[in-house]
């Protein structure tokens, strides 16, 4: 293996669900050693939501739970027990970074909050990430990214103006917050190198996600305008949207902005008579008659497969692309293949399945993704022996006492 960027960094990952695990994962894929602490007594929610292998539920059968935990060593410890907390502290002594994504106060109950950890490891870097941040009137409300997506404004802004909001797909803020957190965390590592000081990071995932609507927030604070849904319209392009194509649920996205793009666009369609109509002569006219324009474009696109429309457009310099489904389209996308976006790893229970690579390629220190998300407690032996230095007898005792957990109560 080539040199890895974070090969000297150890991470004690007490976080769960999305944002915390994804943050530690990013560093793990660049060489950090990450121990992920879970428990059968308090299952990560993502072990309880599909897709399950063959539709058969099981805590080690869902790819959702696996996909944010590549390259990590997974252990199962009951942190509610005194000896479990001792294991937790031993891990902290080993670690450079501690990850927390529980409801504020949970880590404190286990003596694993920043103030306590700083006493035993003064230069520890720790992050706590949750929906609302560590303090404030809503801080104690636990929640998932669907709440973050709604509270950060994203959900309201997807859909059609004359209808109720369709909402953004999934737990959208869970897929914004980690990237801000990783950037800040690495900056903290550099800061520690310069100063020897540890840092505590308090992230509200909602606050991070609001950054993605910054111009609209300013439009309200400055102009008092409340942002509304616009369907597929945008001020600077027409036609602009997704258009029906040959086949079931097949669509192509097209954006025509400049006059040059419009001319090319018309040429590709064979310059039908309607394109010469005064209603579409100028950009302002096209904007004014946009709905009619979109219908006419749709009448043309629906006679072709989306791939064909997209390549005709792109070959002439008009921005367009297939509305790709998350099945055949993405997995067969030649550009994603070229960039080796999907990495297939052997998971202990699920078998071979797909993982995402990062969106960036580093020319000298490419990421190295080698280990599927761990089954619950998969690496207990390695971590307790080789990392924490427990003897076989001690491990046996921890098992007997239930400190190392083995069975989930799913009743």
């Amino acid at each position: 293996m080539e040199r890895q960027v974070f090969e000297n960094i150890n991470i004690a990952d007490f976080s769960w669900v999305g944002v915390g695990p994804q943050t530690a994962r990013e560093l793990a894929e660049h060489g950090a050693t990450v121990v992920r602490v879970e428990s059968h007594k308090r299952l990560d929610q993502l072990r309880l939501i599909g897709p399950y292998k063959d539709f058969e539920p099981g805590i080690d059968r869902t790819a959702f739970g696996a996909c944010f935990n590549t390259n990590k060593y997974g252990i199962s410890v009951d942190l509610k027990t005194a000896r479990g907390q001792e294991v937790g502290r031993k891990l902290v002594m080993w670690a450079d970074i501690v990850c927390d994504s529980m409801t504020p106060g949970s880590m404190k109950k286990m003596g694993l909050d920043y103030e306590s950890l700083k006493k035993i490891k003064p230069d520890i870097i720790m992050f706590s990430t949750c929906q609302f941040g560590q303090y404030g009137p809503y801080a104690q409300l636990p929640g998932y990214g669907n709440i973050g997506a709604a509270m950060s404004g994203a959900s309201y802004l997807v859909g059609w103006p004359e209808r109720a909001p369709a909402g953004v797909h999934g737990a959208y803020s869970d897929f914004i917050a980690p990237w801000f957190l990783i950037s800040t965390l690495i900056a903290a590592l550099i800061y520690r190198k310069k100063t020897g000081k540890g840092i505590y990071i308090d992230m509200s995932q909602i606050e991070a996600a609001i950054t993605f609507l910054s111009p609209l927030i300013l439009d309200y604070t400055v102009n008092g305008r409340v942002a509304e849904r616009m369907g597929n319209k945008t001020p600077c392009a027409a036609p602009h949207g997704s258009f029906p194509c040959l086949g079931e649920n097949r669509w192509v996205a097209i954006s025509v902005s400049t006059d040059e793009e419009w001319e090319k666009f018309c040429q590709i369609m064979g310059n039908p008579d309607w394109t010469k109509n005064g209603k579409f002569n100028t950009f302002m006219e096209r904007k004014k008659n946009e709905d009619e324009l979109n219908n006419l474009v749709g009448e043309w696109t629906k006679t072709y497969p989306p791939e064909q429309v997209a390549s005709m457009m792109q070959d002439s310099g008009v921005p367009a692309g297939v509305v790709e489904n998350c099945h055949e389209d993405l997995f067969n996308d030649p550009q994603l293949k070229h960039r080796q976006h999907f990495r297939f790893l052997d998971h202990k229970v699920i078998g071979r399945h797909a993982y995402n690579a990062p969106a960036y390629i580093l020319s000298k220190t490419p990421n190295h993704i080698f280990k599927a998300g761990p089954t619950l407690g998969e690496d207990n032996e390695y971590v307790f022996k080789d990392i924490l230095g427990y003897s076989d007898d001690e491990i046996a005792n921890l098992l007997v006492e239930g400190v190392i957990t083995t069975d989930a109560d799913l009743s």
């Binding site: 942002a227 790709e324 960036y360 390629i361």
Partner: protein
């Protein structure tokens, strides 16, 4: 390479030259708000991003673009035409002072000007160059044009977005380039840490399409494991969850109308083996009971609510009760009670709701930024994370056109006033 000694901010002392535009500008903002010295380089006359609305007091003007304001905080600004020989010369002199270059030109543009990554390495061997493009620097689509909606489509999220009886939709405030911008920041930071440890710089090649793919949650896993393309939600706000036989798909409400808007509460996550979910639903039902709207819900054992086997009839029956209850409450009423009792719901906040949100106010999320030339102070979205040391900060508002030309060309590079006048005359700055 020397490690900067400035410790007031996390990235104090690192210099970034930002040649990017539009949503990719977020990359430099992330580095700047964390303390890096970011110099935004614009073409003479000003960046095209300055034409992006909305505008301050709805006055279209290159110095009043709120889009420009939002993503150029904590940056200084100079003008420079890198395409001209003299401009390129100045750029190379600046590269020698920099740690990081961020650019979003189409692949090959920098190389054709003689300032591609290998060229810059010869000038500054440990330079980090971050290139943000729609599809990446190489590959079959690398020459494709990438509007934001194209990234949304080819990244897979558009097919999952919108009502299932209409075409797939974008986010009304386009997002793809922001995803690429923030991924650019992540890649840059990984590269910067590597440089700190090894002294070696590198090229960071970001793809907007891939950045969007990373938002898909479990949709890819459904495709990969089960061969299922997840459907878009119904116009009613219900989503369809795939299940194996014999039960078949389950339809569950996710978006609910309330008195003054909409909320999210995922009915299909109302119980099961998660104690937190059961507690949340019990609290909600208790509230409904207080108002005589709970029907038979109090008798239901939420720990037995197993979405793998639950019947659609039961879900539909419960849905009516929840639906009628939510309609009697405002977003704020629902949020306040949810927060105090741990009910897992959230309001579909508008931008107005966000600015007026009591929680964000208590956390002092919004940060005031002075715009002296407008005679105004504007509230901006604040820190994405609060740190115990060297806090996140907007150190200055977005630069005016060529605002720091004098500071950087004259004072730093030692170019005389006369020379500057000539360069201006020739359209270089």
């Amino acid at each position: 390479m020397e490690t900067p000694t400035n410790t007031e901010t996390l990235l104090g002392g690192y210099r970034v030259l930002d040649l990017s535009e539009f949503g990719s500008l977020l990359c430099g903002k992330v580095l700047g708000d964390l303390g890096a010295d970011v110099i935004k380089i614009e073409p003479p006359g000003g960046s095209p991003t300055r034409n992006m609305g909305p505008f301050y007091r709805d006055t279209p003007h290159p110095e009043k673009s709120l889009f420009w304001f939002a993503f150029n905080t904590s940056k200084r600004g100079i003008t420079l035409d890198v395409e001209k020989a003299d401009g390129k010369e100045l750029f190379i002199r600046l590269v020698k002072t920099a740690d990081i270059i961020v650019e979003s030109f189409h692949p090959g543009y920098m190389k054709n000007l003689g300032v591609g990554y290998p060229d810059l390495c010869r000038v500054k061997p440990d330079i980090i160059m971050t290139s943000i493009t729609p599809f990446g620097q190489t590959g079959p689509f690398s020459h494709y044009k990438g509007a934001d909606i194209v990234g949304w489509a080819m990244g897979g999220i558009m097919g999952l977005s919108g009502d299932n009886d209409r075409p797939p939709v974008q986010q009304s405030h386009p997002q793809s380039y922001y995803h690429a911008g923030v991924q650019g920041a992540v890649g840059t930071m990984v590269a910067l840490y590597h440089r700190e440890m090894s002294g070696e710089g590198q090229h960071v090649d970001v793809s907007m399409q891939q950045s969007v793919v990373l938002t898909l949650m479990y949709a890819i896993e459904y495709g990969d494991l089960l061969g299922i393309t997840l459907p878009r939600p119904r116009p009613s706000g219900a989503t369809i969850s795939p299940r194996g036989e014999p039960h078949g798909p389950l339809v569950g409400q996710r978006r609910w109308e309330c008195k003054d808007g909409y909320i999210t509460w995922i009915h299909l996550l109302a119980g099961g083996s998660q104690p937190g979910m059961v507690r949340s639903t019990k609290e909600l039902v208790k509230w409904m009971e207080e108002e005589d709207m709970a029907g038979d819900l109090p008798q239901y054992d939420w720990s037995q609510f197993d979405t793998a086997t639950v019947h659609q009839e039961l879900v539909d029956h419960q849905k009516e009760l929840f639906k009628n209850f939510f309609l009697t409450k405002t977003k704020r009423e629902l949020m306040d009670r949810a927060a105090s009792r741990g009910i897992l719901l959230g309001a579909f906040q508008t931008t107005k709701d966000i600015v007026e949100c009591p929680h964000l106010a208590a956390r002092e999320f919004f940060t005031e930024v002075d715009h002296p030339e407008l005679g105004d102070t504007i509230a901006y979205p604040g820190a994405w994370a609060k740190t115990s040391e060297a806090p996140w900060k907007i150190s200055r508002r977005a630069p005016l056109i060529g605002e720091h030309n004098k500071e950087i060309y004259e004072k730093e590079l030692g170019i005389s006033k006369d020379q500057l006048a000539i360069l201006k005359n020739r359209g270089v700055i």
